[in-house]
């Protein structure tokens, strides 16, 4: 067991961490490239930056918006996210590990605060799970990953709390630590491939939406041409079946492309 824990803390942790960082960097890059490509295709490249930034900030720091509808669920979700971000990063034990490994360190949360935050996060995770299962609308939408994530995220919090605060017998302590580390690694590996990717993609959402509304000139004609409908305008859907002979040709392609 000792060896498993050492392995998890060492090579496995580094591998998972690297996978997470690379995976997230990949989708971040892909998105940015996608935005650039889309703008490249569009003739009108003006983006209302202030508007996009404003909407982005509203949801990055949802302090005003979140309470307006479903306030209970919103509050829970907010606390949950807060706990997820703050606790692991500012936990004294984690900072010590980092310091031993690479020499960096930063201020830690005081112990009681860390404990409360841990409990709160785990409790919020479970409440979110229940909230999802109990709300008919959410149930209709939920996929497997939506149910799995909150409890999975709660595992390292609970086990971490046990290890740090309870006088556990050695075997139980080791099991807890094992779960703590391996669940953490699993989470990191899964992040880029699941909805948790929003941890890096969220700041780009509004930009992506805005840019996607920037339509490319002549795209509709090219789509029709690709589909072999060039002279069969799609607003005459039965043209393929029985083209009326007297139809005037639609706007000639040249007129559009030479603009």
């Amino acid at each position: 067991m000792e060896a498993w824990i050492e392995f998890g803390r060492g090579p496995l942790f580094r591998l998972s961490f690297a996978l997470m960082v690379l995976g997230l960097a990949r989708i971040l890059m892909l998105t940015l490239v996608g935005v650039a490509e889309a703008l490249g295709r569009a003739a009108d490249r003006r983006v209302a930056c202030k508007e996009v930034l404003g909407k982005t900030l509203v949801w990055l720091f949802p302090i005003r918006r979140l309470w307006t509808k479903r306030p209970f669920y919103g509050t829970l979700s907010f606390l949950f996210h807060l706990g997820l971000l703050v606790t692991p990063l500012f936990l004294a034990a984690h900072i010590l590990l980092v310091r031993d490994a690479i020499g960096l360190s930063w201020p830690a949360l005081p112990r009681p605060a860390a404990n409360w935050l841990t409990i709160l996060t785990a409790a919020a995770a479970l409440a979110l799970f229940v909230g999802r299962a109990a709300h008919a609308g959410s149930r209709a939408l939920s996929r497997l990953q939506d149910y799995v994530w909150p409890p999975l995220l709660a595992v390292p919090f609970l086990t971490g709390y046990f290890c740090a605060n309870l006088a556990l017998p050695p075997a139980a302590y080791q099991w807890s630590m094992f779960l703590h580390i391996y669940a953490g690694c699993l989470i990191m590996v899964l992040i880029p491939f699941t909805k948790i990717a929003h941890c890096v993609l969220l700041p780009l959402s509004q930009l992506v939406t805005t840019v996607s509304w920037k339509f490319a000139q002549g795209a509709g004609d090219r789509v029709a041409a690709t589909l072999g409908w060039e002279d069969r305008p799609t607003w005459v859907p039965n043209a393929r079946l029985n083209a009326p002979p007297e139809r005037r040709p639609m706007v000639r392609k040249r007129e559009v492309t030479t603009l």
Partner: protein, 470 residues
């Protein structure tokens, strides 16, 4: 305020002949022209692929399949879901119909998983479901305000309808109108011949003369005029009061404007179901603007027409160098601000409320202007809540208002929230500066028995405008 089961059943009933539904294999409420039904999934995927290849939708789809969190928060904001209470009407659920097709057929992991699990992929049933669902959405984009992940379900509805139209699935009401507009002899969606237009302008001049005692003319084909005016063409048939208000407005400001007989229709149903049409209709506007050497394009009281011109004219007709596009409310507001309008505030004394058309209010483009203007001459102005950018759709958005056979749906499931909102204001007049909203709201007021008259902003402006001494 979910409706009861009987009301929902009535709203959702398909009134088409069963054999048509059977033949077209399309259990939807709206009529569709006869279409090829064989091999639909394959053709849908081909169209999807072609669209992805040439457009920018792939960016949004990639992003949305990655981040969508399925939190159901959007359900609190969709007037359709609020009324029906049916999980299928949750915006995120609707979008998932298309996102799942994208994930399955256009992402590596989806294709691999499909192979491994032996999943045959897109089915005809899924297409039927999309054909129904994307026209239950009014594309009002209210839900986009409330998505923490930044998904715009209106964009997905827009794309879904585009793909469907490429395999022949689009409401006949819209298709027939655009066909007349792009290929027909009249060249506009209401098939109004030029002679009738001229007659109509003449008639309105006479009306104004008899009411206001001034000679107001509607200039036609004036080369080099500053503003080239496009009304939603149905206004010439149904909203004479609005147009008379606009005529009087220009009379008061004295600016040069004109209506072009080469093309005078602002309506652009392409926005509702097909990007190719969206583009071609805008080119008609461009050609007319070039012919008359105008400097600005002015769109009348119409939400979707204004949005398609404002946001897509630059996209299709010259990028940043394209002619500027204005909505008539902006123009009227500017004129009033500059002190060029004399308005009497003792004429429209009834309670007046304002309905924001989604297409101009949602982006925050036209929200304050009409309010400031109305408050200047309506002493009894009241707001409905919510309003402005957060407004609730009239229930006929996304082109659904033109589909007469779905009126029971529009005036119950899609519109009941709006009806109650208007009822709560107790207003005598509801100002709705949009041809589509006007038609829908009138039907809604009737079917939901709300005692409120729906008018355009310029209808009231006309009453209050003091033209003496001009």
């Amino acid at each position: 305020m979910p409706l009861n089961d009987a009301q929902i059943a009535r709203a959702r009933a398909i009134t088409k002949k069963p054999e048509v539904v059977e033949r077209q294999r399309l259990p939807v409420r709206y009529h569709v022209e006869d279409l090829e039904v064989r091999d639909r999934p394959r053709r849908f995927l081909e169209a999807f692929a072609a669209i992805l290849k040439h457009t920018n939708y792939g960016l949004a789809l990639d992003h949305y399949v990655r981040v969508s969190a399925k939190c159901a928060r959007c359900s609190t904001h969709c007037q359709v879901y609020l009324a029906s209470g049916d999980p299928e009407d949750i915006p995120c659920h609707r979008s998932e119909l298309l996102l799942s097709v994208y994930r399955r057929h256009f992402t590596v992991s989806g294709i691999l998983r499909g192979r491994l699990l032996g999943d045959p992929g897109l089915t005809d049933e899924q297409i039927q479901q999309m054909a129904d669902s994307f026209y239950n959405c009014t594309a009002c984009r209210r839900c986009s305000l409330e998505c923490p992940m930044g998904l715009d379900h209106g964009l997905i509805t827009h794309l879904g309808r585009y793909i469907l139209s490429e395999i022949g699935i689009a409401p006949r009401a819209l298709v027939v109108s655009t066909r007349e507009q792009l290929l027909g002899a009249s060249g506009n969606t209401s098939a109004i011949p030029i002679a009738a237009l001229l007659d109509n302008l003449e008639f309105m001049s006479e009306e104004i003369a008899s009411i206001k005692n001034v000679e107001v003319r509607f200039p036609v084909d004036v080369e080099g005029a500053e503003y080239l005016f496009f009304a939603p063409v149905s206004d010439y048939l149904m909203e004479a009061d609005t147009l008379m208000g606009i005529g009087a407005l220009f009379h008061a400001t004295g600016d040069s404007w004109t209506i072009g007989t080469g093309y005078f229709d602002a309506i652009n149903y392409g926005l509702f179901y097909n990007d190719q049409i969206l583009e071609h209709v805008l080119h008609k506007i461009r050609r007319e603007a070039e012919r008359l050497k105008t400097r600005k394009i002015l769109i009348g009281e119409c939400g979707h027409a204004s949005r398609s011109a404002k946001y897509f004219y630059p996209a299709y007709c010259g990028g940043p160098d394209a002619l500027p596009v204005l909505n008539i409310l902006e123009y009227a507001h500017d004129a009033w601000k500059a002190g060029r309008l004399k308005l009497r505030n003792d004429i429209v004394t009834e309670t007046v409320t304002y309905h924001d058309p989604c297409n101009i209010a949602r982006p925050g483009w036209i929200v304050d202007q009409p309010r400031e203007l109305l408050k200047a001459f309506c002493p009894n102005f009241v707001e409905m809540t919510p309003n402005g950018r957060e407004n609730i759709c009239c229930g006929g958005g996304g082109g659904t208002v033109s589909i007469d056979e779905i009126r029971p749906f529009r005036t119950s499931i899609a519109g009941v929230v709006k009806a109650e909102q208007i009822r709560a204001t107790g207003a005598k007049y509801c100002v709705a500066p949009c041809a589509n909203c006007k038609k829908q709201l009138r039907e809604l007021m009737q079917d939901q028995q709300v005692d409120c008259e729906v008018v355009g902003l310029h209808d009231l402006l006309f009453k209050a405008l003091d033209l003496e001494g001009r």
